[in-house]
Amino acid sequence: MQLAMWTYEGPPHVGAMRVATAMRGVHYVLHAPQGDTYADLLFTMIERRGERTPVTYTTFQARDLGGDTADKLKTAITDAYERFQPQAMLVGASCTAELIQDDPGGLAAAVGLPIPVVALELPAYSKKENWGAAETFYRLVRTLAGSKGATPPPPPPCGEGEGGGGSGEGQARERRAASPAAPCSEPPPPLTPPHKGEGERRPTCNILGPTALGFRHRDDVAEIRGLLERLGLTVNVVAPLGASPADLARIGDADFNVVLYPEIARTAAEWLKRQFGQPFTTVVPIGVGATRAFVEEVASLAGLDPTPILADERTRLPWWSRSVDSNYLTGKRVFIFGDATHAIATARVAASELGFKVVGLGTYLREFAREVRAKAEELGIEALITDDHLEVEKAIAALQPELVLGTQMERHVAKRLGIPCAVISAPVHVQDFPARTSPVMGFEGANVLFDTLVHPLMMGLEEHLVAMFRDDFEFADGALPSHLAGHAPMDAPPAEPAPDAGIVWEASAEQELKKIPFFVRGKARRNTESFARQTGIAAITVETLYDAKAHFGR
């Protein structure tokens, strides 16, 4: 047993959900107990999607355990197919269903659907979310691309779902038309190259790895796609994000693959290399240096000239970082933790592009420990490979860095230790799925990184000033420095307006007032006093307080 206050990754079936939700025309039937539908909220709330996740849960209960759980699963598979008409289906089990061993794959085969069905074996007690996503993507690619032409997605039986009959696709498009505000991930634009050289074929590539619930995947894809197209490439398929099973079927048509997120796409990319001889990129373009290296790697795979792009970088990070205002960043001690890709890339940016001193580097992804160890060695430190956030907390406390770059979990630790913090990797919460364009990849991503990594330090300086001038009338205890409450004292109440001299508060009423949250307390006090004046009450009782509340509303 492992004690976990927080967990860096969800169970592997959440990884499978990320792939299913990213795609169009794929439905996932998940054998799971009642309650596991909480995972829908990750997509509808954290990522703010305007569609239900394409997942049908069996939601069995204790009373079902008598023996008909297998039937329940078969019914769910049949019903989901009839209702959503997917082009391909995933079936699998969550951790509890794994214990009762109903064999989702075998049962799905017994149902005999006329579409490709991928049975997922995701060991929930030994593997985790990223592994689940990688395995699911690999299985889908293997099933759909491996037998090119053998399993073409059938047309929809009942003509309702036009255009390939994707489950959500037709409905979603209609819905978007009906309600322009409906938010959802944009399907990629039609794949027509902007221009074709005279009879000359442009080199093509796939972009592999972006999923639903990925940290900045939406904007990374747009940024990198733009970069590749400026370089003269045609993007064949982006997958899983926005791809349909039909798209996966033609994944082998590209010349090579761009692997943006190795945690999710490397397994599939390796298989595609074996199967279709497609090479894949190894540099992840996070940071200016890495983006340059990525451009060169892609150019060499595609046989194109990288110099025009490298001469027109469109990034401000190098100048921002060289300007004198950034002098004070030199040697700032930072601790970095996250998934392997983002941790390694951020360490490179921190050390060579911002001039920080990296004092700690680690990842929760054991599968990528080797790469992180190599980077740490290069920086002269020892890598921390753990999925136990208490160990991470211990390391941070021991190292006493001036800045923590990590995940949502490190925000907890940083709050506890009073250290400025920025988020550079999943797991993240709703605030890290922003409305504005915010890639971390490519040249624009470097701009975003500069702002993100430096911002909390500015706040740190502000806090220092507060500490130097403790009796400052404006920045008293509890007054938050600016927008980041992460390392600000919250205990003391903010200054309240002085009570009206002509009106007396009874002790009990005063006490009651204190129970109102501090951020609305001042308003409640003012409202009550003005109510008392209006109605000629001299002494405010608990009753007056509530009379005023009822009178004014909130």
Partner: protein
């Protein structure tokens, strides 16, 4: 209108139907999210899988905690290999928790689907650990698994464990009233004042804010449920010899008066005294509610099942705000405790116990209600289809009971409609 509501238990009013299928609800583990704030010296240790841990942090993780008072002991492959060392492992993890949080007085071992399916005996583990850790820490066990509990039923299971562990009331103790259900502190204080004004002294609350403030229980205890989802706790209280008072739940002006009146009657307090205490406050609540009536009057409202609060809230919406109720979904219906609320719903109101979410969505899309009360997995997708929604979990995380919150409760339903009027983009 102002008279205390009689409690007609005859059931000719609403139509109750059961439905089975896919359920889009939380499991009982979610109760930890509010229970750990209410019981200030308790720690909740879920024994489960990574899924359980992920659920808790997805629900609560947006708050940044310096020190959370809940955690998961995640079972791993080697734990599943043999049952014997599971208990050793559990002891080790409990040791880790208490080393980190020496201020903890009650430790709840919370069962999950995986721990229930492999039949890990947490009750036995709790007894063993209690013996070892007494008197500093008591260890209790309950199940918050999805296979057994839906959302608020987690609180029901937790309170049942507290009832079983409560001290015995002295034989000559004075009669006491225990209000059951975790309430926001400010609501609890208001109720305490009201009961004291009515002439019921020393009213106690379950759960108490701290372990040492828990009420003793026995035949001289009358209990009053503040929440409709506490059927198992009520049964546990009955088993301790306590007797329950059946009443509509204290939502809105009418509900609160009816609830107080039922308790007063049980303690032999005259209706006249009840009127003296409640009249002004009830009126104040009506004023506050009426501020939102225009927005909800005649609006068609549909409830998806979530917390079991749906029937009393539908009653409040229908009787005090003039809304038309299309369908009231509830994950479970404790008939004995809900009878007074059901009797106050308009005749023919459709109550659906259980769920088949796809079919209910079909009905919802066909009806196109003015307001749909549903969980967060459905809310944004329905909004994107042009339907106004009120996400139901907020109804649990906001002070809503009693007179002083009646206006706020009405506002919770009015706000999404007001917002739609405001937005021009």
């Amino acid at each position: 209108m102002n008279a205390p509501v009689a409690l007609p238990l005859g059931c000719d009013a609403p139509k109750i139907r059961s439905e089975r299928g896919q359920r889009a609800v939380f499991c009982g583990l979610t109760g930890i999210v509010w229970l750990h704030r209410k019981i200030q010296d308790a720690f909740f240790l879920v024994v489960g899988s990574r899924t359980c841990a992920h659920l808790l942090q997805s629900a609560a993780g947006v708050m940044i905690f310096a020190e959370p008072r809940f955690a998961t002991a995640i079972m791993e492959e080697r734990d599943l290999a043999g049952m014997a060392d599971m208990h050793d492992e559990l002891d080790r993890v409990v040791g880790q928790v208490l080393e980190r949080r020496p201020d903890i007085r009650t430790l709840f071992l919370v069962g999950s689907c995986p721990s229930e399916v492999i039949k890990l005996d947490l009750a036995k583990a709790a007894t063993r650990l209690s013996q070892r850790l007494a008197p500093d820490v008591r260890v209790l066990a309950y199940s918050g698994s999805g296979i057994e509990t839906t959302f608020t039923e987690g609180e029901d299971a937790c309170l049942s464990a507290l009832v079983a562990a409560a001290p015995q009331q002295a034989a000559n103790a004075p009669e006491q009233l225990v209000v059951v259900g975790a309430l926001p502190d400010i609501v609890e204080d208001q109720f305490a004042r009201l009961f004291s004004e009515l002439g019921i002294p020393d009213v106690r609350f379950l759960p108490a804010r701290r372990a040492d403030a828990a009420p003793a229980l026995g035949p001289r205890t009358r209990y009053l449920l503040a929440q409709p989802f506490l059927g198992a706790t009520a049964t546990a209280l009955d088993a301790r010899g306590c007797s329950g008072v059946v009443a509509p739940f204290p939502f809105g002006a009418e509900g609160t008066t009816a609830w107080l009146s039922a308790a007063a009657e049980a303690f032999g307090i005259s209706p006249q005294r009840v009127r003296e205490v409640t009249a002004l406050k009830e009126n104040r609540a009506r004023v506050a509610v009426s501020r939102h009536a225009a927005r909800l009057e005649g609006k068609r409202v549909m409830f998806f099942p979530d917390s079991q609060l749906e029937p009393p809230l539908a009653r409040f919406l229908s009787r005090e705000l003039g809304a038309e109720i299309i369908e009231v979904g509830t994950p479970y219906l404790h008939g004995r405790w809900l009878a007074p609320d059901l009797a106050l719903l308009p005749a023919g109101t459709q109550i659906v116990e259980g769920a088949d979410v796809d079919r209910q969505l079909d009905r919802c899309r066909a009806e196109r209600p003015d307001l749909t009360v549903c969980g967060l997995g459905l809310a944004n997708p329905l909004e994107a289809e042009g339907l106004a929604t009120k996400w139901s979990i907020e109804l649990l995380f906001t002070p809503t009971h009693g007179y002083e919150q009646a206006g706020d409760l009405a506002e919770l339903f009015a706000r999404p409609l007001a917002r739609r009027e405001l937005l021009e983009v």
